[in-house]
Amino acid sequence: MDRYAKIERRVKQRGCHLQGVRIALISLCTVLVFACVAAFFQRWGILPLHPLPFLIITGFVFFASGTIAYLLGRSKKIDLARLLFRVDLALKTDEQLIALYEVRRFGKRGFYDALTRELSVTASHASKALRLPTIDRGAIVVLILLITALPPALFAGIGLPEEIPAPLLTTEERYNDEVISELPPTEYPPSGEYRTVAPQDEPVREQAEMIPHHPLEDILAELWGIDPLSIAREGEGGGDLRALLDRQRAVNEALQDLLAQIEERLRDETEQELTTAEREALMELQRKVAHPALQEAIEQVLAADDPETLQEMIAEALQQAATQEREDREMTAVAEAVTPPQLDGEIADHHNDEEIADEVMAAAREDAAQEARERTARQGDDPGRQLDEQLAIDEDIRAGAEGLPAGEQEIREIPSEFIHFKLSGQFGPTGEIEEFLTKGVPLETLPQIGPAGEFRYVLNYDLARAILTGRLLPEHLQQVVKEYFRAITERERR
């Protein structure tokens, strides 16, 4: 093999390699464009895929397409004359290589010998002279930068409450940035204000009337038989679901006791009608009961004239109450099961607050006792007056420890087992939405501090889905639940 043949072979190999690289580069750029689009979709939750699997899949596609494109590019036919001409231009060889290629092709021996003798280029020089064009090298740099930037861009939003992707969510709706704000516990308005002021507030009521029918009403009606209207009528403005269920269970038990007593009386006595006291008690309980079915059963009891019908209605109401109680117990169990650990921590914080309050109270008592002793020492002995003063001091201390005037502690007291959430906006025509956000609602484990200093909780949709699945909730009802959460988040965003 003469010198030119060696050069030609090396240039051909190099050309094939560069062609492979070039086509692989085009392929990788194309894949990268698609990957960026997919990452955009993934980032905004349109593509339901976790960043890690997304990266793995993208990496695999990258590698596979690059390899295949390189191999295809290598096997593609190359324009050797053009490559040799490029080498000639790069090495300034007076176009000897391209001329040799030409004379070799046409078998012009005299020219070939003469040109080979004058050839000053080596095979390695010729091979090295072939380089990727500047635009391709630029494309490689851009490609590397984009590939480097892609994983951080994908993982950037994770852990931030404002933009949490919903990678494992099976629905195509975007829930990842839905955040629920909560006022700090110390800034809660008294719960009684919710009961009395908010529903009567005219602007709020007008706003509430403008809000259309909310899916939660369907959820509660379809899942648990709870009528939100009846809950609002019942008057509890700021509790969580478990508290509601507890209250309903208490009402239910009272109802069952009453019905059992009436039934027993009807069996023993000749009087086959409801007494006025019984009727009033039943009406009171009907008002408190939130389940429409149970309400209807009580209504039928109240409306029954015939003794036999009355007994049947009572038996039916009892059965309905028992059924409802069983369902409420199940609900409570689920709510407890899904309570996030950090909410327990939140309760612990409440406990810590209580401990601090106790310490403050003890210190205040100590100070007051000291003051009383001093006063006694100054004023002499008047046991009656000392006792009155001591009682007054104790009352002030207790009230002061709660931060309220004495006598209002009952209203201000927030049950420690509940986590209260303050949401902006209204739910339905009946009252504030916070009624339905309770300790049982699946929230993210870490509350975040918002820009205004308020606590922000993030709904955990995976947990929500697990709960709904655990309850064997039909798919269309799961969708209703999701719609609810999305709706309240959108409202809050507005």
Partner: protein
């Protein structure tokens, strides 16, 4: 098949010829080279220059060095075609009168058409067939001219009064156009020294000089032509030439701004042929065995300059064709 030795021998012969011409002609290397290229390619040369620059001397020297039959026609307004190509005359032989063809000066190997633009277009056109096909047709008879045949025409760029500029069709038939420029100081000194001293001068006429002896014969010229036609030209270079020629057209997508603005007509395909063959001949004369880009660049201007027709705006603004060609060369990439 042409061997390396044969190529080298022929290159050597033409180097000697070049040197011989150089002993008579001072300077004018470009013109001499263009003349030799035309000789090697079988083309015709248009020499342009003011009087007194040695154009006629160059042609005469070349003819002497080649040992070929030389003829000179001084073109004038009253020159007729028959004065160039010849005519049928009545001759009487043994009491019989018959027409016989009397060949004109075109029947030579080296024809000097001096001041060709002074003759009328009709007379100028008499050379067209000879220049292109090396034949002359008189009456119904076509006469073949002897090979090698080369027309070296001169024209004076000044004194345009009473002249007939060559039509485009005839200009295009000139393989190259060479411009004889004024000699430099040293060259002029050398010219005066050579032509005003006795130094063994044989002629008694003033300013006459000794013409060289024959260096090359017709066979060698024809053989060299064959070798040159075998010179390798790769496809990328051929593509480059095509793009260069197309870029001279104002309607071409690759034409530079100057071409679009100032050019009426661009170069013809014959220009591309001239460029390639001229580059081959240039490489041969340079002692190389392949056509290089430098060869193409060397003959680009002589091959193109008379084939670009400027428009009115170009003429009015005094644009030189060289400027346009420089722009074309700059705008055309060597490789795509």
């Amino acid at each position: 098949m042409t061997t390396e030795t044969e190529i080298r021998d022929l290159q050597g012969v033409f180097q000697r010829l070049k040197k011989t011409i150089g002993t008579v002609i001072v300077g004018h290397e470009e013109v001499v080279e263009a003349t030799l290229i035309c000789l090697l390619c079988g083309g015709n040369l248009l020499l342009e220059g003011v009087p007194g620059l040695g154009k006629t001397l160059l042609v005469r020297t070349l003819a002497c060095a080649l040992g070929l039959k030389f003829a000179r026609i001084q073109f004038t307004p009253d020159l007729m075609p028959a004065d160039i190509i010849g005519t049928n005359i009545i001759s009487e032989n043994s009491g019989q009168r018959r027409f016989s063809f009397s060949p004109g000066p075109v029947f030579a190997n080296v024809l000097l058409a001096d001041e060709i633009n002074r003759a009328t277009p009709k007379t100028q056109s008499a050379l067209l067939e000879a220049m292109e096909e090396c034949t002359v047709t008189v009456g119904n008879t076509t006469h073949q001219l002897e090979e090698p045949f080369i027309v070296l025409a001169t024209q004076n760029p000044i004194e345009m009064e009473g002249t007939y500029p060559l039509p485009e069709a005839q200009l295009d038939r000139f393989f190259l156009k060479a411009i004889a420029r004024y000699p430099t100081l040293d060259q002029l000194t050398e010219i005066t020294q050579r032509n005003t001293e006795a130094n063994g001068r044989q002629s008694s006429l003033p300013f006459s000089r000794n013409l060289p002896a024959q260096v090359i014969n017709a066979e060698e010229i024809l053989r060299a032509r064959q070798v040159i036609s075998e010179y390798p030209l790769a496809d990328p270079l051929r593509n480059y030439v095509s793009r260069l020629v197309l870029a001279t057209h104002p309607t071409s997508a690759n034409a530079p701004q100057q071409v679009r603005e100032y050019v009426e007509y661009g170069a013809s395909p014959r220009a591309a042929l001239s460029l390639i063959m001229g580059a081959k001949a240039h490489a041969f004369l340079s002692g190389k065995f392949n056509v290089r880009i430098t060869d193409l660049e060397a003959v680009f201007f002589p091959a193109m300059i008379h084939r670009i027709i400027l428009n009115f705006k170009g003429e009015a603004e005094g644009i030189q064709v060289e400027e346009v060609l420089t722009a074309v060369q700059s705008a055309t990439a060597k490789i795509l």
